[in-house]
Symmetry: D2
Subunit: 414 residues, 4 copies
């Protein structure tokens, strides 16, 4: 049986926990969650699951009613569970990470600039709500992400539907029906085409020269704030609203980059400048009193964050000493030798993490879709909101500081 | 920094969530959780971390005060989080498993006999509290476990201390100091020696012949209820109290089996009979209206549960059709080819799972220490307690039914 | 496309590399390997793949011709590749393990008793050839295995066919057609029924009392040597021939145990005694000058081997100091906290491995089906055959030694 | 014990298997491989392992003698092993991949353009030899790589030493001693500083405008051919020699990008244009008769290759139908939801792989350091060398073709 819920994605926000749930079957107007038997009955009455899906994709209710969640007779608090029950193995890591984040990284006395990196495609899985909550509370100051996370984030703002599906569906049939699959998430291929058109429309108001990806993403976010149906559910839009800069380490590697490349085929001189991104992120890290990071997954975004320290000491000759706090949620492992799974300890040998801060590093092995909501619920419960750093609007100043430090260092180490 | 908390283990119960937390540093009498800075200060003031640990192991406060947990200004409900935020990837699997368990497996109309299997060493990691909660509510009817889970469970009943440690400690030093490590859990080696002595004392009141492991475990549990300091924190003890039979698929493979083996060297005729276990578990499954299982990890206990169906059709010629519900939490993967990571689908080809029940199977990839507490909190919130089946006291009757069915089948297929 | 080769299983032996390959399509009499295009054409001409399979299972050619392997124009030597090209990450681990095995564990001066443990189901995947080669050369002295490995090993001796299949086949259809799947291996369900009948026939000549699993397996092997069609391809048969004792840590957990359990339902007093296994394996380890192990996978067999050292010091009061050499091939990881993935270092804290031998431990992360053939080819290339220890016939003597040592220790530590 | 061999890296070539092994301890002049006992003796005689390493890094012998490899008394052929022994689980996948590559992808009749993608840091682990062999034989036509693979590749050409180390070394001590660690590979930090200086020197002869990364890498390779000590051991150098274009999907994310970023801080207008890379790779795929890929790891390079098909149909409106052949070696898994572990089947739903070519896709789960040398040895044994496509010099022409097709498509779908 395939469950045909609308993916609520970023629609559930931690700061407004009012039962505002749109987690409702899109082809009913029921106010309650249908049970599995109902779903199976419906599924059986149609000839193929794909047919159902197609109906869904066409007929989806524009304004599903909010579900009434009956809370049940017993009640458990997430932060209590994490503090009291998560005592060993990865549960203990999640507990340590939650406390490290809430008690140290978000402690105003420590004045930590918090980066967050995202691999994979987490926004289509509905993690946007966590990210927006963290940004709103001043708990994340800048983001390094794959393009996929940012591209698929736009669907939410543009009110395009993603659907809960099944990872065992027949992809050949899906392709025939024009349905795209990301593991267990399904959507119509015109979601791609329409989002592409939106991206290309946005490009028209950008300058005809190399720009950093933070400028590109800020521009996309601003446009979503203007014309998006649900910009409140979009990481890009809210990041733009709160001046949280978003970088990507692989600017050509996603449908965003693919559309900018088409733009170039059309003769535009607009291009994306990865070196500007290197310098901007290094400038942010250079300026910070202390640096800390939440790493979701690993991949190229992880390295792009961590390399800011070697960029300082190895390439620019400026000694900062390494990052201070490090939390990673990953399903990778150290023993394959890659950077995604590399331990914080290995990062010490590269000067990426301060040796005496190794106790302030935690790796949780598991799925970000489970661990991040728990971590977010914990820190929102435990830590006071911080003033947002609004780093996007300070980039010029931070770059200037970096250049001055570099010029000073060149005097002694050319 | 190594965190020297006492492992609360099974001391936190889902059914009595009153802030009853003993998660307190054992070398202080503070009523509040010490912060990391305090711990670091203490750690630094000693010459080696091992020294601290040794002090801890000797001086641990017998009755740590309960911690006052300040709940913070915001509040999140676990079942709501799981229903609303867990939408894709393994978060969706956890959501599906929680609903499958609460809505179908525990639905009185379905009359499901629920087995639970445990690999690894989960009780030292503190998962006993979940298991006791599930048994108490009638949510688990019988258990198949590694010996390690049952052996280390006795420490809690006997008030021996396990400690939160660090998985990166120097094992050579630990061994010199007489400290044993299970990943990030530490305890003194006399915990082993004292538990061994308890086991051997218990053996004296057992008969001089082959017995099933359910008899052995029931006997150990009964003794813990009698003489244990904290039998309320022990899976073995509470299972004995509620007549939940516990089997092990590898009776010689743990310190329990090792001590029974010493008993045999001393000339005893007491031995453990794996065939009795095969027949008892098959009799339970044979008797059930419907069968469902929660598989923690995988390993030999997973197969021992699943093989009850082939035991019926393949070996005894009795057609039952396969299990009905299947939930597994595992860090293994199908693509290594082993049974631990094998999909429920593969089990269909063996007649282990009913083909038309494949939709009632879920695998969550990740760590049981995180997923099981979430699952437990969910089902206790959502499902009504069931009358306990007390299968231990019905074994004779169920075996009789199985033998009759077997004799009937032999008449047609010798 | 499904590849319908006959699984050659243990038919290819390292010591007789003469191109003796039966890796031939079972529904042709071609002397050469058919190419993929031929296979596809055949597959398309039938209505369903299952139909083909069924035909195959019935019509399989009893004596497939040997294939002519054309070797190609270039030539690479496995041991050279491992020594020269395997330099970092898991390739380096494989290189280290190969050298540790060939140069130290098999060095006559070190007089190492070599155990081998097997999880999962590796014999159906064709690893029997490696195991037989290692036993024949005196490179493995005793084995601890899951029952699955031993049960499915009998199919080869009994000339029953296992087939290369596809892990993505529809299991519901397979079940309808009576085809059993182990990941990508397929066979008819009567392979189970016929092997079961063989096992039960063998039980008739066993005594009516508890026996160790080494006795059971030796008896099965002896029967296979007598009545098996291809005993030269069976681990059980060859182990019996060379007096290599084989234990299982979970005697009820496989179709072997299931059939012994049926035997018990029929009133037999024959049972399997896990404590005898604990004492026999401990006696072997106690007697050895040095101990070393090859661990395939992990699971219960891994712990059953390792626990022989705590059985000595913790339970029996005999100080041996731990194992000396440790090689594991596994897809598990330390960070899940289980024993399967636990590091050799953690084993030091338990007294399972000698602290000063930690340099003689290696874990290779990956699939045994790839690593074990490479390791076997390496050691057969590099090390001289050793006289076989024939431990099965020395069990009584070793047990006597163990009991004497235990009695001596009891005098000082009761 | 830490093994202090010089990492031979790309120094062993498959096409010149003459025992040309430089796999020799750097602090001896012995002609044979030292055994472990010797190494331990040396290690013990020094106070700390770091001291040894430091000595090594300073005193390394400039011209280590070639080792005499004694081949042993038995002999196994890699291709035979793979064809005959690799029958199930991941061994079968490796066999299928080897045959798919040798028999179909390299079949001249199929005229396949073969891409290869690399995540992580495989060149420091010594896989350069395989890559050079594959390029030399015309078996790889273009490469998409992380920057790390290309940056560390230069050390070999520049005769800087990488060393076999241990993944368990104390990173704080390493950092104090100026030693950098990549899992189990060690090198002095001046290897970074000197390579950086080389990169910046090379930048001087590049134009002051955005260039594609293929131009950058070709330029670096050309310079290595000119001034490198051992350009024959460098992927970058040999790729330049044979006109194999190399792209990176994340141009700022490595020490190469970091140095180009410093160049920008110095005022240069040279930047890297990810859109040029998107268009060049798409043009290569568009031009090909058939497309096939070898994916090492996964990560951003995997997606960058696969997205060329959606770039055609989704963004440019040109219907090509998807890739034809797909081989991936990875330690990731589908069930985490990321693209690295996504199945070829999922790619079908995106139009990345042709639906009717799903049978020509294989995923091998495991470590590329083991699987790639085996795969390389197999194809070099079995397949005839192909004329090299020299795509770097044809980029202009291919881009022109792409633009024409795009303009044609725009006429019908604007």
């Amino acid at each position: 049986m395939i469950q045909y819920y609308l993916l609520a994605c970023s629609q559930w926000r931690f700061s407004i926990l009012t039962g505002d749930c749109r987690y409702v079957l899109c082809f009913t107007r029921k106010t309650e969650l249908p049970n599995r038997t109902d779903l199976e009955r419906i599924a059986v009455s149609c000839t193929t699951t794909l047919t159902i899906l197609k109906i869904l994709l066409i007929r989806r209710t524009p304004n599903p009613r909010k579900a009434n969640i009956s809370v049940g007779h017993k009640f458990y608090h997430i932060a209590l569970l994490i503090d009291q029950q998560f005592q060993a193995y990865n549960a203990a890591r999640l507990n340590e990470a939650a406390r490290l984040y809430a008690e140290e990284m978000l402690n105003p006395a420590n004045d930590v600039t918090v980066g967050l990196t995202m691999a994979g495609a987490l926004t289509p899985a509905g993690l946007g709500g966590c990210l927006i909550t963290l940004m709103e509370n001043g708990f994340v100051d800048f983001i390094i992400s794959t393009g996929a996370n940012l591209y698929h984030d736009m669907h939410h703002a543009l009110a395009m539907s993603l659907h809960r599906g099944d990872f065992r569906l027949d992809d050949t049939k899906l392709q025939e029906e024009g349905v795209i699959r990301i593991y267990d998430i399904l959507f119509a291929d015109n979601v791609l085409l329409d989002t592409d058109a939106f991206v290309r429309e946005c490009l028209k108001s950008l300058p005809n020269r190399p720009i950093s990806t933070s400028e590109l993403h800020y521009h996309l976010g601003t446009q979503l704030l203007k014309v998006g149906v649900n910009p409140e559910y979009s990481v890009l839009a809210q990041a733009a609203r709160w001046n949280v800069p978003i970088y990507t380490s692989s600017p050509g590697d996603s449908s965003i980059g693919m559309n900018v490349a088409r733009n170039a085929l059309d003769g535009s001189q607009l291009t994306l400048d990865p070196l500007a991104d290197v310098n901007e992120t290094t400038a942010i890290v250079h300026h910070a009193t202390r640096n800390g990071v939440i790493i979701l997954g690993g991949g190229s975004p992880k390295n792009f964050y961590l390399q800011t320290q070697p960029q300082l000491w190895e390439v620019l000759g400026i000694h900062k000493g390494g990052h201070d706090y490090f939390i990673q949620i990953t399903a990778d492992a150290p023993h394959w030798g890659g950077l995604s799974g590399a331990t914080p300890s290995e990062a010490v040998s590269w000067g990426k993490i301060k040796p005496d801060q190794l106790n302030s590093t935690v790796v949780i092995y598991g799925d970000s879709t489970i661990a991040l909501p728990l971590l977010t619920a914990y820190v929102v419960s435990k830590a006071q909101p911080r003033p947002r750093k609004e780093l996007f609007s300070k980039r010029e100043q931070l770059l200037k500081e970096l250049k001055e430090a570099y010029n000073t260092s060149k005097a002694t180490r050319p």
